[in-house]
């Protein structure tokens, strides 16, 4: 009886507070919030460009809330992955993106879903912006059949429409991205390809080969260097003779962008997209950003940089905090509203994690499938001559 009363009172109390909040929010939505504001953004350093992106960016309330939600979802998803990895539910490689959210969200805000994107292995956030769900991303990390690649790819090999992964070999994705851009130009649909790589990859020879061909053939390719200051454990000063990554394209125009400010990233991406779509050829963007985690889950991330440095970035330049402060100080959202988004995001992540830990692993008869596309079923040799496994497309 007491238990029942407790339950009933909890329910009533809960609905009461919820009702209260709803009343407060809906009253404020209609009258009080600023629907749109203009913000000053940092000027981009330019290379072989007469002018750069605008110095001001407009942000609507809806956009702001959507960016906030997406960045928060990314942040919580990566932190949950951290947790699951430490519990050994995620295994192998796991490269986390927290700290860099403004890049992924800002880039997507500057292009269309019909455009194309390819990146390296720190790819969970891009899988999300390109149409993947948190559920399928997390289930891929835990290697379950509900994963976006049915458990066969893992952290570094997630794909969606117009998103070509997720690539494990440093730098290899850059020629691939230019190839996608070549297809865009060839098929004449006014689409472009965003091709991402890190400060570590920026020294790869194949990237310079790609700059050359992309420029020669005027491919609609936005090369983006996500400079998070460290290639694994090697700081940029120790790896690159020139750390002006936005200039490394030489004959390719470039801009250096504050990668912690989502509006800066968005405006720069829009600018770059316009450049490509007008047929001028490739362009290069360096996003100055920072990762809170180490290179991967096996790297504590403090042997080559100080905790103070990490803390300073977190307190002064966190992309989510920056957006939140902007919106709150311009009366574009309420604290409660943002908190509500936080709660919803947390729930979504919890649900996804629940799914990712309870969904069964892929069935063994999926082992040899997906070798060839559009192929009649074939036999694959197992571990011994008597084991013949079935493979279908």
């Amino acid at each position: 009886m007491r238990k029942m009363l407790t339950i009933i009172s909890n329910v009533l109390r809960g609905s009461a507070s919820r009702n209260g909040a709803r009343v407060v929010v809906s009253a404020r939505t209609y009258a009080d919030f600023t629907p749109q504001a203009t913000f000053d953004i940092k000027k981009c350093d330019l290379h072989k460009l007469e002018e750069g992106p605008p110095l001001q960016a407009m942000l609507s309330r809806e956009e702001g809330l959507q960016y906030y939600r997406t960045m928060q979802t990314m942040r919580r998803m990566e932190l949950k992955a951290d947790q699951l990895y430490k519990q050994k539910i995620i295994r192998g490689f796991c490269h986390l993106y927290d700290g860099q959210e403004a890049c992924a969200v800002g880039i997507e805000a500057g292009i269309n879903l019909s455009d194309h994107l390819i990146t390296a292995y720190r790819a969970h956030a891009y899988t999300l912006t390109r149409g993947g769900t948190v559920r399928e991303i997390m289930a891929e990390l835990t290697g379950r059949r509900g994963g976006i690649a049915k458990g066969k790819g893992g952290s570094m090999h997630m794909y969606t429409k117009n998103f070509y992964g997720g690539n494990g070999i440093v730098g290899a994705q850059v020629p691939l991205g230019a190839g996608v851009a070549l297809a865009c130009k060839y098929l004449g649909k006014n689409e472009l390809c965003v091709c991402l790589y890190g400060d570590g990859a920026a020294n790869q020879g194949q990237i310079f080969e790609t700059y050359n061909m992309a420029s020669l053939w005027k491919l609609p390719c936005i090369f983006i260097c996500e400079n998070n200051k460290y290639g694994m454990g090697t700081s940029v000063e120790r790896a690159a003779a020139s750390t002006d990554y936005y200039k490394r394209g030489d004959f390719i125009p470039g801009l250096r962008v504050d990668g912690m400010d989502i509006l800066c990233v968005r405006e720069a991406t829009k600018f770059a997209a316009e450049h490509c779509r007008s047929g001028k050829g490739p362009i290069l963007m360096e996003l100055q950003t920072y990762r809170y985690h180490g290179h991967s889950m096996s790297d504590p991330g403090v042997s080559y940089r100080t905790r103070e440095e990490i803390q300073e970035v977190r307190s002064k330049s966190d992309p989510i905090s920056m957006l939140k402060d902007r919106m709150l100080s311009n009366n574009m959202a309420s604290v409660e509203e943002l908190k509500e988004i936080d709660v919803e995001v947390r729930k979504e992540i919890e649900d996804a994690a629940q799914f990712a830990t309870t969904d069964p692993e892929p069935p063994l008869d999926d082992l040899c499938n997906h070798i060839f596309y559009n192929n009649p079923p074939m036999e694959v040799r197992g571990t011994n001559p008597w084991t013949k496994l079935k493979s279908v497309s």
Binding site: P175, L176, Y186, E209, T210, M213, N369, H370, F372
Partner: protein, 359 residues
């Protein structure tokens, strides 16, 4: 005894010469086509058939192809579809793979497969494995083609055979044509295949003419990937080979036939997937197996065939251990006498056959 054998041999020659004069060797509608022209035709027809097909590589456009395989194509199809690349294999192979991922059907030419080593990461990690890693979301319909293996006097860095290297990897199909019909039918199949195909040509075969049947001249003529062809029927020993070595096997078979040894010569056509069944069926008839390849012996094509035969039903039909005839296990030397002795010659095949048959 030797002179008697000699007389008999020449007599047999005389008879067959007479017979040859009576019957036409080529049927009326068949023509003589070189391997080069066959490859050219295949690409021309497929470029015409499907707008998404395009060719890229060094010197493929304005130079008409380093070995003239793409002669005339740039004039006909223009810059959009026949693309000259800078000398940057890793870059342009990656670009080709990316284009395939985004919906085009590239033919990526390596001037020789030796240069493909610079790009091998793109072939294996970006092309071969992607369909699997994406669990069927992302196919890669691309053809990598070019001359493979030994040529003449080009020395060690330009003479390696990559059949074994590429055939090692799941996710790739590896094709090695011999005749003009092979070249045309298999290249068309490769281009129409929705998966990455490594197409190993042979520079020394480019200029060799073959009879091409009327059927093979049709624009829809394709040869399925994965099926070997018996080029010559025989009862005593099975010779399994691919590419240029098929010619040597046939020549050796012709010589051995005069001594009453009938070789069955199998032209593999495809290295991966390997048509083990064709080889097994043949062994069940001849009871003897010899593989012949131009590549190095260790971990090579022959090694794989022998392993499979050991593990399969044909083992019980072998009357002698299966053996391999291969290139010598050294980097290719330059001097002609050394080079000639670095790859299998007809006499090596004959010698191996006789050792196997214990005659």
């Amino acid at each position: 005894m030797a002179s008697l054998r000699c007389f008999l041999r020449s007599g047999k020659n005389a008879v067959s010469a007479v017979l040859r004069r009576e019957f036409h060797r080529t049927s009326p509608a068949a023509v003589q086509v070189t391997v080069r022209d066959a490859l050219n035709q295949a690409m021309d027809e497929e470029l015409e058939r499907d707008e998404r097909v395009f060719l890229l590589g060094e010197e493929v456009a304005q130079y008409d192809g380093a070995y003239k395989i793409s002669r005339g194509l740039w004039k006909k199809y223009g810059d959009k579809r026949i693309i000259d690349t800078p000398i940057t294999e890793m870059g342009f192979a990656g670009i080709a793979v990316g284009a395939a991922m985004a919906g085009l059907r590239p033919i990526c030419e390596f001037m020789t497969f030796n240069f493909s080593m610079q790009a091998i990461d793109q072939v294996i990690n970006s092309a071969a494995k992607t369909y699997y890693m994406s669990a069927g979301l992302q196919p890669v319909p691309i053809v990598f083609r070019g001359p493979n293996g030994a040529s003449a006097g080009v020395a060690a860095q330009h003479s390696q055979c990559f059949a074994a290297w590429y055939s090692h990897c799941p996710g790739l199909k590896v094709v090695s044509p011999w005749s003009a019909e092979d070249a045309k039918g298999l290249l068309k199949s490769a281009i129409r295949d929705d998966n990455p195909v490594v197409f190993l040509e042979n520079e020394l075969m480019y200029g060799v003419p073959f009879e091409m049947s009327e059927e093979a001249q049709s624009k829809d003529f394709i040869i399925p990937i994965g099926k070997a062809k018996i080029e010559r029927q025989g009862n005593h020993v099975t010779l399994v080979s691919h590419s240029r070595m098929v010619s040597l096997c046939l020549d050796a078979a012709a010589v051995l036939a005069k001594e009453g040894i009938e070789c069955e010569v199998i032209n593999m056509r495809t290295i991966r997937p390997l048509d083990a069944e064709a080889i097994e069926t043949s062994i069940m008839k001849t009871n003897h197996l010899i593989t012949v390849e131009g590549g190095w012996p260790q971990f090579g094509v022959g090694a794989e065939i022998l392993g499979r035969i050991m593990e399969g039903p044909a083992f019980n039909y072998l009357d002698a251990p299966a053996v391999r005839v291969t290139g010598v296990d050294i980097p290719m030397p330059y001097a002609k006498i050394l080079e000639d002795n670095s790859i299998p010659q007809i006499k090596d095949i004959i010698f191996s056959v006789k050792k196997t048959l214990n005659v």
